[in-house]
């Protein structure tokens, strides 16, 4: 028998599940049952740990136990893991994370650079609690912020706290959250709404999904506090239909929160009533834009409204004042309420407080979900947390902010990451995607790839976005297939400027960013494609292939 109590967490995020984490969990259960170790070893499902690259993950709870971190676990490893807890058992070394440079095993969760350099505030519970069990959330102090807000604070005080914290909206634009709250609070009328934007449509971005899957109650708690602060009684979570697990866990969380009295007509006997509905999006990227999202909930086609227009805080859902914030913004709220605005504002930079969350992907050793204080340098993120570019390749660029973000070259690696610095570099915080590219990446191809996405996702309403992005895409397509003309770079710049300058909404206004930044920082690659018919990175098939017939455009003859 085991004397000590062990607690095992098995990641059940979408990434680990796709790696077979559900099987591993049931195998662990079976093995514990078989050996009758139920008294000594408890296992629980958690949401995403963030280190998706190494999944499926099994972690021995670092708070109560050894903190051993087993990565890339397969069902065959289960028996060894359980054996390790038996008297005389040894940790399963082969499952340890190894430093990519030295190949030295790092057994403990806290020692892994990927985690060590992070500061997990929004992701505080991710990977630690069972997202389908409200008691787990409560055990971490969950819903204390709501109690405090309801019984110790007035709406004005809450809003003041949020304002003082300097929290900026984490959906991309970085609008000061407190000002939005205040505007909604001040807007007249009895009927107001709170909307959580979980329409995370960027390719490669998954932080909203991970938060919802791993810690849904922190979002719900943030929303209820927001509802109380602005005077709303109904909330909506607009979540992508492509996120079935997030939807499932949200449903469970909402039901449990209702049962416990954190949602409903009279929350905790305070007299304040608030409830939350889930609205599933139908897969349009543009519905992440606030006015389009609102129209979508109203049952209409989601299309952004032209500026100038009243703010959603004043005229939102069904024409009523509406507070619309991102998942991560709401998830920050309970901590700001409990620990105070000063605590929050002590992180980050002068203008960007708190933390930034990125989905770190691409040519980087440690892909995954990370959270760092605002102002952390790109280099730290990519090389310290991310473990650098694998395979001894050279770093070329990092693209931030989703498909409408820009590509930042190596020369700017020491740039601090915050809303304003990224914008100044021609990119943006956006949804928090961060794609690392190495020397094997063709920057023209990258621009073409991202533009292909945005041009498809244009709502079609305005000409510059619908036709302009298509036109730009077509020019890029020509360049990557060896059809580029010398004047194409100027044409792209002219088009890019017009599309960015004249489009109706942010989708079109930012769509040219990948093109404009790659021309700005990697113009030589464009010139090589056009003048020398050469793809320096060797990516563009038509230009590296010895057989021109592989290129579909080649056969069309000279133009």
């Amino acid at each position: 028998m085991i004397k000590k109590q062990y607690s095992l967490t098995v990641c059940q995020g979408t990434g680990c599940i796709s790696g077979g984490a559900e099987d591993i969990f049931s195998s662990l259960e079976d093995e514990i049952d078989r050996l009758n170790l139920g008294e000594g070893i408890r296992i629980k499902r958690t949401g995403c740990h963030g280190f998706c690259q190494r999944g499926p993950l099994v972690v021995v709870d670092p708070e109560t136990s050894s903190g051993l971190f087993y990565s890339k676990v397969a069902p065959g490893d289960v028996s060894d893991i359980i054996q390790s807890f038996l008297p005389g058992g040894k940790p399963v070394e082969r499952l340890f994370y190894r430093d990519p440079a030295s190949s030295k095993p790092i057994p403990n969760y806290h020692d892994i650079p990927f985690y060590r350099k992070q500061e997990r505030i929004v992701l505080r519970n991710c990977g630690h609690i069972d997202p389908e069990d409200i008691d787990d959330y409560l055990a971490t102090g969950g819903y204390q912020a709501l109690r405090k807000a309801l019984f110790e604070m007035t709406p004005e005080q809450i809003i003041a706290e949020v304002k003082q914290s300097g929290l900026r909206g984490l959906g991309g634009a970085g609008f000061p959250a407190g000002r939005k709250w205040e505007a909604t609070f001040r807007a007249g009328g009895n009927e107001k709404y709170v909307i959580c934007n979980a329409d995370e449509g960027d390719p490669g971005a998954f932080q909203d999904r991970s938060v919802l899957e791993a810690d849904p109650h922190s979002v719900l708690e943030g929303m209820v506090i927001a509802g109380y602060a602005v005077g709303a009684r109904r909330g909506f979570i607009y979540v992508r239909a492509e996120y079935p697990l997030a939807v499932k866990r949200l449903r469970i969380a909402i039901t449990q929160a209702r049962d416990k009295g954190f949602l409903g007509r009279d929350i905790l006997g305070s007299g304040f009533g608030f409830d939350i509905e889930i609205f599933r999006g139908a897969g349009a990227f543009v519905c992440g834009e606030s006015t389009a999202l609102v129209l979508s909930i109203e049952g209409k086609r989601g299309m952004p409204k032209p500026l100038p227009r009243p703010r959603t805080a004043e005229v939102g859902l069904w024409g009523k004042p509406t507070l619309l914030n991102n998942v991560k913004t709401f998830a920050n709220i309970p901590l700001i309420i409990v620990r105070g605005s000063e605590w929050f504002a002590s992180r980050g930079t002068e203008t960007s407080k708190g933390t930034a969350i990125f989905s770190l992907t691409g040519k980087v050793a440690n892909c995954g979900l990370i959270e760092v204080p605002m102002g952390t340098r790109l280099r730290e993120i990519i090389f310290d947390i991310g473990g650098g570019v694998p395979g001894g390749k050279a770093f070329k660029a990092v693209q931030t902010g989703g498909p409408s973000g820009g590509c930042i070259p190596a020369s700017l690696l020491d740039m601090p990451v915050d809303f304003d610095s990224l914008t100044a570099a021609g990119s943006m915080m956006g949804s928090g995607g961060m794609v690392v590219m190495d020397e094997d990446t063709c920057m023209v191809d990258v621009a073409r790839y991202f533009l292909d996405f945005t041009q498809r996702e244009s709502c079609g309403q305005c000409i510059p976005c619908r036709v302009g992005t298509k036109q730009m895409f077509s020019v890029l397509d020509d360049i990557t297939t060896g059809q580029g003309r010398p004047e194409d770079i100027d044409l792209l710049l002219e088009l890019g400027e017009s599309v960015a300058g004249t489009s109706l909404c942010a989708l079109g206004q930012t769509a040219p960013n990948p093109v404009l930044t790659t021309i700005r920082y990697f113009r030589d690659e464009y010139e090589a494609h056009i003048h020398e018919k050469r793809c320096p990175a060797g990516v563009c098939q038509a230009l590296v292939s010895k057989t021109p017939s592989l290129s579909k455009r080649e056969g069309e003859g000279d133009k």
Binding site: G468, T502, L504
Partner: protein
């Protein structure tokens, strides 16, 4: 209101708060190009062509959606603006086909105009064509998405103006386009082919199909639609004396940039090969073409002979609710002064006499009391006995707009499901002919629950006590037993109507063409005055008129008992005014109504008849009786565009011009006097009706003292108080016409100074009378062997008796044949399948048509459209009159239906 001053292209200009930069620029004579803006539509700032630069902030602003703000400094044509603007236009051109040479839109294409204005030729952009197939088979609208710039005017027109919701954005990105639900062809969608989108489309993406005549039009004439009583402003575009195209007109206070399928595509009848081009005289049972001289000589001689032999009252005249005011005025003067009889009536009497009497008695004004546009301000609208989306589409659009965009609540009272049903807040489905009981019960609830406007009732009405007394028995429970509507719904409707601060009532021939029509109108008026809804902005009573000039024909005195302006013929003082002016002595006895004329003709008491633009053989009940009566006349002159069923019986047929070939005015149902302008020269030898009347009067030796239409207008203005000032308006510059609310309209106060409650009683139509009543004929006696109630009405794709619409070949092609609608349960019982050939048999007649199974008809009820000449539905009716208005029941009769056999041809997809 304080004005806002901004600097626009270096010039200080002022506008009102809320005005957009674009509006102010246009007002200041600065042209900002735009492709998605239209004043009738909500602005969406989508095409981005109208971008301007804020010189202070450097921001580029869509001028169509940006309101002016004090101190703004705007540059509409800075190099930056024109640079971007030209990029945007080039982008559109790059995805637009190079088919301008063969595109029918030609120089009317706004994209081409803007490109040309900006000096944009070939661009350096890649050609990225939008691929699209043209799939429609309908004869009206062709969609070519390859030319679409997605300005979304069509989408907004469909959703915001016509409120059909047939099209919306479809797909995303470059493949986005306007499309119907599931991208089906238009004919399989909610589209009603109103053509509004076609008129607004800036490019060749939406074009009218199958035009009879092609070419670049040379002239465009603003005139008034000749179909229903809405009186839409239309524009006739002409080439080679051919009307090539009809578009919404500029003076569109009524139609706001919209039209319906009849207005847009129904005017094909103008150039129908059936048009009469020469006078005809019957000899040996067939017609011979003769000269005008001969025809008029014959007509004059015969009328004189009959007058001399049998006296003036052996002659009668039937005027037309389709002819102009001036023509009807001349005609009644012809009847009274030349023939010397008051035997003059017009076709609209068949359905609007009830209104004239009912509203005349109650509020002292014989028609609609408010403007159509005011309906959009109503909080509650009662629509009863009317299917405006079919019969008066503009009113239909307005009601739908009020409901969808202005939050109005619609109480629809109709046994049939119509297009309005889905817009209704409350849909009450009374048993046919029980309206009076329902309306009385609504009034009773309002009084009992103290919801009436006591101040209005006390100050502005009389006879309230008598009315209250009559209402005593009409408890909702009592009404429920009669109407079949649950008492709680009656209460709900009454409360809803009474609680609204502005509530309107819209009714049509479903009220007036019953034998209880006058009573129903009075009951409706009672409701309106009980709640003070007369003279309020969003309140009032809207009496729909079926024809374009039904109101005007009556205003002009084409009536047996009224001189022009409803001045009673038996009133000596009124008569004297006209006698003095006309220099004749006028007959003092009221003449015969339309149906009485037919009846007297049958009895041989009327020997000579002059019919202008009416087709009683089809439009009157009991066709065989009417035919018999008309055949028995000594002499009949029919003046028409076509050889109608009635004209075939005439001795002399005079070819009249269409509305497109003449000048004058029509008065629409709301009382607006609209200009009719000549767009083409008369076809063949046809003449305008007013010219013919003048020439006939000459021939009869009593010339009427007019040498121009203007003189007629001047006299109308002088003698008809309601038309005071109207002739002046006709002289105004055409664009100014729309500014003033025209001549005769109700001016918001009670003409007589007070309104009168008119107690009315429900007269049961079931054989087992609930309560015996003296003096009134039962509404509809259910007869053994005729178990079905046949309802009749208008359908959108045809009009009236079909004289014109069946010759408008695109309408005819789309909706080629008549049908009878039957509910599924009834059809099943009788073994009738969809499209089966069936006989509809009434006690007086029988016809054969096609069965169409629909849901939305109460059991035991059938519906047939009246507009197919080959199945004269009115012929099924016996002559039963409203005792007061003397108008026939033409709305509902007893029939049976029998299956004849299967139908071979495939039925047209959409005929209702």
């Amino acid at each position: 209101m304080q004005s806002v001053t901004i600097t626009l292209d270096g010039r200080e200009v002022s506008g009102y708060p809320g005005m957009t930069i674009l509006e102010l620029a246009r007002e200041s004579g600065i042209n900002i190009p735009t492709l998605c803006y239209d004043p009738h539509l909500s602005s969406i700032g989508a095409c981005r062509v109208c971008l301007v630069e804020n010189e202070q902030s450097g921001a580029l602003l869509a001028s169509c959606v940006t309101p002016i703000a004090p101190g703004m400094v705007i540059n509409t044509h800075s190099p930056r603006v024109t640079g971007h603007r030209s990029t945007i236009v080039k982008l559109m051109l790059a995805s637009h086909p190079d088919s301008c040479l063969v595109c029918d839109k030609g120089n009317r294409c706004q994209l081409r105009q803007i490109a040309s204005d900006m000096g944009i030729g070939l661009s350096e952009f890649q050609r990225i064509p939008q691929m699209a197939a043209i799939e429609e088979v309908n004869p009206f609208i062709e969609r070519d998405a390859s030319k679409c710039i997605l300005c979304a005017k069509c989408i907004r027109a469909c959703q915001e103006l016509a409120v059909e919701g047939a099209i919306d954005y479809f797909r995303r990105g470059f493949t986005a386009k306007p499309a119907t639900l599931n991208d089906l062809p238009l004919e399989d969608s909610e589209c009603s082919f109103c053509g509004t989108c076609v008129a607004l489309c800036p490019t060749g993406a939406l074009m009218e199909k199958e035009r009879a005549y092609r070419g670049t039009t040379k002239t465009a004439t603003q005139t008034t639609c000749p179909f229903c009583g809405c009186g839409c402003s239309i524009c006739l575009e002409v080439k080679d004396n051919h009307v090539v195209r009809v578009t919404p007109g500029k003076q569109d206070a009524v139609n706001h940039g919209t039209l319906c399928v009849r207005g847009s595509y129904g005017c094909d009848f103008i150039h129908s090969p059936d048009r009469l081009t020469k006078p005809l005289v019957k000899a040996n049972e067939s017609f011979e073409e003769v000269s005008w001289e001969q025809a008029l000589e014959l007509a004059a001689t015969e009328f004189k002979r009959i007058k001399d032999k049998h006296g003036p009252d052996s002659l009668a005249v039937l005027g037309s609710s389709k002819c102009t005011n001036e023509e009807n005025y001349l005609l009644q003067r012809f009847a009274r002064c030349v023939l010397g009889t008051n035997n003059i009536d017009n076709g609209s009497s068949l359905y609007n006499a009830a209104t004239r009497i009912g509203l005349g008695t109650s509020i002292g004004f014989p028609g609609t009391t408010n403007y159509v546009s005011a309906l959009e301000e109503s909080e509650v609208i009662i629509a009863i006995g009317a299917d405006p989306p079919s019969s008066a589409p503009i009113v239909g659009y307005t009601i739908k707009r009020a409901v969808k965009y202005k939050g109005a609540k619609l109480i629809l009272i109709d046994p049939r499901r119509t297009k309005l049903s889905s817009f209704a807040y409350l849909w009450l489905r009374p048993k046919v002919g029980t309206d009076v009981a329902l309306l009385n019960s609504l009034a009773k609830v309002i009084i009992d629950e103290g919801l009436l406007d006591e101040e209005f009732v006390a100050r502005e009405t009389d006879n309230f006590e008598a009315c209250t007394k009559t209402l005593e028995e009409y408890s909702p429970e009592y009404a429920e037993a009669i109407t079949g509507i649950a008492s709680k719904e009656i209460r709900a409707a009454a409360r809803l109507y009474a609680a609204a601060s502005q509530a309107a009532i819209v009714y049509g021939s479903g009220i007036t063409q019953h034998t209880s029509g006058t009573d129903s109108v009075k009951a409706l008026a009672n409701l309106a005055i009980l709640t003070g809804n007369i003279g309020r902005r969003g309140g009032g009573i809207y009496a729909l008129q079926r024809e374009n000039n039904a109101q005007g024909a009556c205003d002009m005195g084409a009536l047996p008992n009224f001189l022009p302006g409803y001045q009673n013929v038996s009133d000596a003082q009124a008569r004297r005014k006209f006698e003095d002016r006309w220099g004749v002595s006028l007959p003092a006895n009221p003449g015969l109504t339309a149906l009485e004329i037919v009846e007297q003709a049958r009895q041989g008491k009327i020997a000579g008849l002059y019919i202008i633009g009416e087709n009683p053989v089809l439009s009157f009940p009991h066709s065989s009786l009417v035919t018999q009566a008309l055949t028995s006349l000594d002499f009949m002159v029919v003046q028409d565009m076509f050889l109608t069923e009635t004209a075939k019986l005439a001795s002399v047929v005079l070819p009249a011009t269409s509305f497109a070939e003449k000048e004058g005015t029509f008065t629409n149902f709301e009382g607006r006097v609209n200009q009719v302008r000549k767009a083409i020269e008369p076809l063949g030898q046809s003449l305008s009706d007013w010219e013919i009347i003048l020439r006939l009067a000459d021939k009869m030796g009593c010339p009427l003292p007019f040498s121009s239409l203007q003189q007629v207008m001047d006299e109308v203005e002088e003698l008809v108080p309601l038309y005071e000032g109207y002739a002046d308006s006709q002289r105004l510059h055409e664009d100014e016409l729309s500014i003033r609310e025209a001549g005769r309209s109700y001016r918001g106060q009670l003409l007589r100074g007070f309104a009168r409650f008119s107690p009315v009683q429900y007269t049961p139509h079931v054989p087992r009378q609930i309560r015996g009543r003296e003096g009134k004929a039962p509404f509809l006696e259910a007869k053994e062997g005729y178990p079905f109630t046949l309802l009749t009405g208008t359908i959108l794709y045809h009009f009236g008796t079909g004289t014109r619409s069946s010759r408008a070949w695109r309408l005819k092609k789309f909706s080629p044949q008549s049908f009878v609608e039957i509910g599924e349960a009834d059809a099943q019982k009788l073994g009738i399948s969809h499209c089966d050939k069936v006989s509809v048999i009434s006690p007086v007649s029988k016809l054969t048509t096609i069965a169409k199974i629909i849901d939305g008809l109460p059991e035991g009820t059938l519906f047939m459209p009246i507009s197919f000449p080959e199945t004269p539905v009115n012929g099924l009716f016996d002559i039963t009159l409203d005792p007061e208005a003397k108008t026939p029941s033409l709305k509902a009769c007893n029939v049976r239906i029998e299956r004849v056999g299967p139908h071979g041809e495939k039925e047209d997809s959409r005929t209702s």
